[in-house]
């Protein structure tokens, strides 16, 4: 018997059922009350007090997410760069905007984005999905959705749609005026908060006790992934495999940013212009090349990899870390230099053999959540039936 545990339970009990009940009644209930359909092991997400969740808002957000009328030229939607069948990425090395502009970075997966303490690849200051939604709408360099300057035109299109009028009234019962961009951003954020992925083979093994969910090679890869030697889980931590998570009842988490040794231009630690990571926000030399740890959930569907899509395959990504970074001397892909002076200490040469690389790839493939990428709740409401939008045979065969 452990006196410490008994003491702990006793203290808990002595707080009194009444006191706990009183605290529970006083606390905001809405995040817990929403039907999140959380997978086992996933905490209740944190939701901003000024944008409570409700089903109408989520549905409105889903329509907006897939609606090309939300862009200036009515040809681009959020979903243009965040495709469900690719775990809400776009399969491109770098995203392309409404006017053809190439974005300096690739589209990040939106799986479990509700738990991210900061958003985007390298922006420590954008911490809410409501704030993030404004970036692609109004960004001018590059133009993403091209809403800047034509806001009223875009809003007029949406206000003219009877579905939006109906959903707006139900989603924002407290609103007094007409649909505004604030409501658009809030609805988009509410929808994105529901994009929770936790039904992979890994989840079935770990959280549902299904010993047959993962084969021996993937299990070997899992041991390696979590080993001190490989150290993958040092950065790809949390149920989201993306580092610290923000959720209801927890202290505010801070996002982690790492320089993984992709570049070392001129041997001076520099990264290509437009892709210099946190440095672009802070101006501090030590922040050059630091990018947020992306989720590894569904990673088999989100190639190419890294912030600029410069690593083409999962195997190449594993080999990148096995080699302790790539550290290209030039920006077009050649001339490995010495380690970047700002490179994370956790990225160092490991020297996996071929069977270990295969095992790690098998483990990473076991993080694919096929239910998530074909879930009708997240599908295009304007498009073909969900069954027709299931992952292609080519993607499935890649397992």
């Amino acid at each position: 018997m452990k006196p410490t545990r008994a003491g702990s339970y006793t203290r808990l009990a002595l707080l009194g059922a009444w006191l706990l009940a009183a605290i529970a009644e006083a606390a905001p209930q809405q995040a817990k009350d929403f039907d999140w359909r959380l997978p086992p092991g996933f905490p209740v997400p944190r939701v901003p007090a000024d944008n409570p969740m409700n089903a109408h808002k989520v549905e409105m957000g889903r329509r907006l997410f897939y609606d090309v009328r939300l862009s200036g030229k009515a040809g681009t939607a959020c979903a243009s760069c965040h495709r469900q069948e690719l775990a809400f990425t776009d399969g491109r090395a770098r995203a392309r905007g409404a006017e053809g502009d190439l974005h300096p970075r690739s589209a990040m997966s939106l799986a479990n984005v509700v738990y991210a303490p900061a958003l985007g690849w390298a922006d420590p200051d954008t911490r809410s999905l409501e704030a993030q939604a404004a970036i692609p709408m109004f960004n001018r360099q590059p133009v993403e959705m091209g809403v800047a300057g034509v806001e009223e035109h875009v809003l007029a299109r949406l206000r003219a749609d009877s579905d939006y009028r109906r959903l707006f009234a139900a989603a924002f019962p407290e609103a007094t005026g007409t649909l505004a961009l604030l409501h658009v951003r809030r609805a988009l954020a509410a929808f994105q908060r529901t994009l929770i992925s936790g039904d992979s083979a890994y989840d079935r093994l770990v959280y549902r006790d299904d010993a047959a969910a993962m084969g021996p090679q993937a299990r070997r890869g899992m041991r390696l992934f979590f080993s001190e030697r490989a150290g993958c889980a040092k950065c790809h931590a949390g149920p989201g495999f993306s580092g610290p998570m923000d959720f209801e009842g927890a202290a505010r988490a801070e996002a982690q940013f790492h320089n993984t040794g992709l570049y070392n231009l001129e041997g001076r630690g520099r990264y290509p212009q437009g892709g210099q990571g946190v440095f672009e926000h802070t101006g501090r030399t030590e922040d050059v090349g630091r990018f947020r740890t992306p989720t590894l959930r569904n990673v088999a569907l989100t190639a190419p990899y890294m912030h600029d899509g410069s690593v083409p395959s999962l195997r190449a990504a594993v080999l990148h870390y096995a080699a302790g970074g790539r550290n290209w001397r030039d920006a077009v892909g050649s001339g490995r230099a010495a380690a970047n002076p700002h490179q994370s200490e956790d990225v160092r040469e490991i020297g996996f053999d071929e069977t270990e690389v295969d095992a790690l790839v098998a483990f990473l493939e076991s993080l694919t959540d096929w239910a998530f990428v074909s879930d009708p709740r997240f599908a295009n409401p304007f498009g073909p039936a969900p069954a027709e939008r299931a992952p292609s045979a080519a993607i499935r065969n890649a397992r």
């Binding site: 086992p40 006790d209 899992m222 041991r223 040092k234 998570m245 801070e254």
Partner: protein, 194 residues
């Protein structure tokens, strides 16, 4: 508040509950002393002291649950004492009641799993572990340690069939490995990153 109970009932329940907790903690302390004692007579004496305290605590918990019929903490304490007194079936009934009132209440889930172990109901203990693993990792880890300790005891004095024991041992080994591997994936009190 329980059905048809006013503030008087709540006050009575609180009074009995606090007394029960005091006796229970004393019983736990006496049990610890008994386990640490090498002298058989001293050990037996500590053990008897512990049993006496658990009986007193049980009486008080029962009074608390009579005064406040939805008092899941008290049912949980009642089950604890019954288990420590060796009445596992009665303990299960108390834990079931606590969990009926407060579904998923982690201490009751864990204590009930220990009672299942004692009764050789291994599948139910495993299910309890998974419930805790997905809700309260610290308590799940504790139950896993209890399972390992129970297995060690079974090596000396088996009480379940060999094939069941072997399967359970394999399962505990696998879950221990998974628990170790994924410990860093869970929010921990000591880890400021979370």
């Amino acid at each position: 508040m329980g059905l048809g109970q006013g503030s008087g009932g709540m006050q009575r329940a609180a009074k009995h509950f606090e007394r029960a907790e005091k006796y229970r903690v004393q019983g736990i302390e006496d049990t610890r002393l008994a386990l640490e004692e090498s002298d058989p007579e001293e050990r037996a004496e500590h053990h008897e002291d512990a049993q006496r305290k658990f009986k007193r605590a049980l009486r008080e918990y029962k009074k608390a649950t009579r005064a406040k019929r939805d008092f899941h903490y008290a049912y949980n304490g009642q089950g604890f004492c019954q288990r420590m007194l060796g009445d596992y079936e009665a303990a299960l009934t108390s834990y079931d009641k606590a969990l009926e009132l407060e579904p998923g209440f982690p201490p009751a889930v864990e204590y009930r799993a220990e009672a299942y172990l004692r009764l050789g109901r291994l599948k139910e203990a495993q299910a309890a572990y998974m419930e805790l693993f997905n809700a309260e990792r610290n308590i799940a880890d504790l139950l896993l340690r209890k399972m390992r300790a129970w297995l060690a005891g079974q090596q000396k004095t088996p009480t379940v069939p060999a094939n069941e024991l072997s399967a359970f041992q394999t399962w505990v080994g696998e879950r221990s490995e998974i628990a170790d591997q994924t410990a860093a994936l869970m929010p921990g009190e000591a880890d400021s990153r979370w």
